[in-house]
């Protein structure tokens, strides 16, 4: 579904959560976003459902909430060891580290205020983050690809968040 989808439509669909994937764009400045990414950014600020953002939309989450995204000092392509500093929710059971697949030229260089960093790699400091209070989650790596063998665990953990949200 495109990020221009109105919130009411997600409600009408009885969506339980939202996952946004990656793409080739750069999101270093809010002013220079494409329409599609501006919609995605707006969606993040309005939605109440739990949300998981991957790669470019993870970076967009940082830009949207006052963090900084910039050209990576060292980009990452293919397998990367991700070290978990905080198992929190989505990375539960993944300490101390796991191999994830990456493909990015940009990275978050400063996480936004009120977000906590959950994992990092040698080249990239914000591999995963979450908002302290809200159900907003972001990962730089790709949990959805086959070669990230623990990727399914990240989704299962996210689904637990979704269950808790539905019960509350």
């Amino acid at each position: 579904m495109p990020p221009s989808t109105p919130l009411e439509k997600f409600e009408a669909m009885k969506a339980d959560a939202l996952v946004m994937g990656g793409g080739p764009q750069s999101v270093r400045s809010l002013a220079a976003l494409s329409d599609e990414l501006r919609d995605a950014s707006n969606l993040m600020t309005k939605i109440k459902l739990p949300m998981l953002c991957i790669c470019v939309t993870h970076q967009l989450m940082a830009t949207t909430f006052g963090g900084t995204t910039n050209l990576a000092r060292k980009p990452e392509f293919g397998p990367v060891e991700v070290s978990v500093s905080d198992e929190d929710t989505i990375l539960a059971g993944l300490k101390p580290s796991f191999t994830a697949w990456e493909s990015h030229n940009d990275e978050i260089v400063a996480a936004p205020p009120r977000f906590k960093v959950l994992a990092s790699s040698d080249n990239c400091t914000v591999q995963a983050m979450r908002h302290e209070k809200m159900n907003l989650f972001g990962v730089q790596f790709h949990p959805e690809v086959y070669h990230t063998l623990k990727g399914a665990d990240v989704f299962k953990n996210f689904l637990k968040v979704v269950d808790d949200y539905k019960r509350s």
């Binding site: 980009p75 392509f77 293919g78 397998p79 990456e102 690809v145 990727g151």
Partner: protein
């Protein structure tokens, strides 16, 4: 288990696609473009269920096929268990003429596509077919639309109107599926295991493994090397394995001088013991979801340490990632297995990967002994002077070279 397999029901997929095909084609006739690969074979079987005798399977011999392939495929698909009576169309000369002198991968692919559909259009006219059924799957259009590479079987998704241009409409019964789902569907249709698990072969075939311009010399070397690689690696069950051929012409940019040091640093060797050659012809890669038409770097480790490193995949992986991180232009790294001084100025690059859905791929850990064995067999033919092993995952490389 791959994420894409969960929730995929071949029987309900088949029911809905059969109905959709019958509605689209009506009482008309359709060609099924087949290559013997699992995608087009399964698409043809689905279409046969829907259309019966109104489906005409056509195999185009592009000249970029492996030795004996057209005849083998025709015989295999014509087996009573599959019942696809294939018409063989020989068009090798036209394809070679259309791609002659072209070094750019995307141009080669587009010229191939153009010739491919012209030939299909002629066949459709001859047989009174208004439709062409093809085995396009999701990664094909995802990568074409995303500008990663032009797959030859993508038309409508990039705004090409096949009806006005070639005289037929395209039907793609599997355009939303991934490779692993296609294999499940194939098994559901009783496709024999050797066919449903068949080694993938790209539509443009050896054209995209002949890096840079095509020549008869390169194509011949590629055919013999392909046979050697398939024979030696076949028993290992890697998801994909093949050879590519590239000319030993090297880029001279001064920045590449620093590559020797980067590689040596990552390998923990003095820089006098490693040398990195950057090939002039470009290869396709994908960095950060964007196409990157870049360089192939070949690491040459001094002969007496080479074997040791051949058994240290982690060290080689580190050398590969250090190079690709630091040199924006480099999308692929290969390590020299063996060379023959004074041989013809051509290199063979062997590639083997493990991949489930062809969206990501890991380098296969082929035992060094086997790689050496392959290299010796290839060099023995006397048509090349170097044999490399590609040590790049996808991303940043793609699975195929172009």
């Amino acid at each position: 288990m791959s994420v894409t397999l969960e929730g995929f029901r071949p029987s309900s997929y088949l029911t809905s696609e059969t109905a959709r095909l019958q509605e689209t084609v009506g009482n008309g006739k359709a060609i099924a473009a087949v290559s013997g690969g699992v995608d087009s074979t399964v698409a043809a079987l689905v279409a046969k269920r829907a259309l019966g005798e109104r489906l005409l399977p056509v195999f185009i011999d592009t000249g970029f096929l492996r030795a004996g392939e057209p005849e083998n495929v025709k015989a295999r698909l014509g087996d009573p268990s599959l019942g696809l009576k294939v018409k063989l169309v020989k068009a090798g000369g036209r394809f070679l003429e259309a791609t002659k002198g072209e070094a750019m991968a995307e141009e080669k692919r587009k010229k191939f596509r153009e010739t491919f559909y012209q030939v299909l259009g002629e066949e459709a006219r001859k047989d009174g077919c208004d439709f062409v059924v093809q085995g396009t799957i999701a990664p094909d259009w995802i990568e074409t639309q995303g500008g990663i590479k032009t797959q030859h079987n993508i038309l409508e998704q990039v705004g090409i109107d096949s009806l006005s241009k070639y005289g037929f409409r395209v039907v793609e019964p599997m355009s939303e599926l991934y490779k692993d789902q296609v294999r499940v569907l194939g098994r559901h249709l009783d496709l024999p295991k050797d066919m449903s698990e068949r080694q993938p072969f790209p539509g443009p075939g050896l054209l995209v493994r002949c890096i840079g311009t095509v020549s008869k010399k390169k194509l011949d070397l590629l055919k013999s090397s392909t046979m050697i690689v398939e024979e030696k690696l076949g028993p290992f069950n890697y998801d994909q394995y093949f050879a590519g051929v590239i000319e030993n012409k090297f880029a001279k940019e001064p920045v590449y001088k620093n590559l020797d040091e980067t590689a040596a640093g990552a390998l923990g060797l003095p820089s006098s013991e490693t040398r990195v050659d950057v090939f002039e012809d470009r290869v396709t890669g994908v960095k950060g979801d964007t196409r990157s038409y870049g360089r192939l770097a070949g690491i040459r480790i001094q002969e007496d340490s080479r074997e040791t490193y051949g058994w240290l995949p982690e060290k080689l992986r580190l050398a590969q990632s250090s190079i690709v991180e630091k040199f924006v232009e480099v999308t692929r790294v290969a390590v020299l297995v063996k060379e023959k001084r004074g041989g013809p100025s051509l290199s063979v690059v062997v590639r083997a990967v493990s991949t489930r859905d062809f969206m990501t791929a890991a380098v296969a850990q082929v035992p060094w002994k086997i790689l050496k064995d392959i290299a010796e067999s290839i060099l023995k033919t006397g048509d090349s002077s170097r044999v490399y092993y590609d040590i790049t995952p996808k991303p940043p490389a793609t699975i195929e070279f172009e």
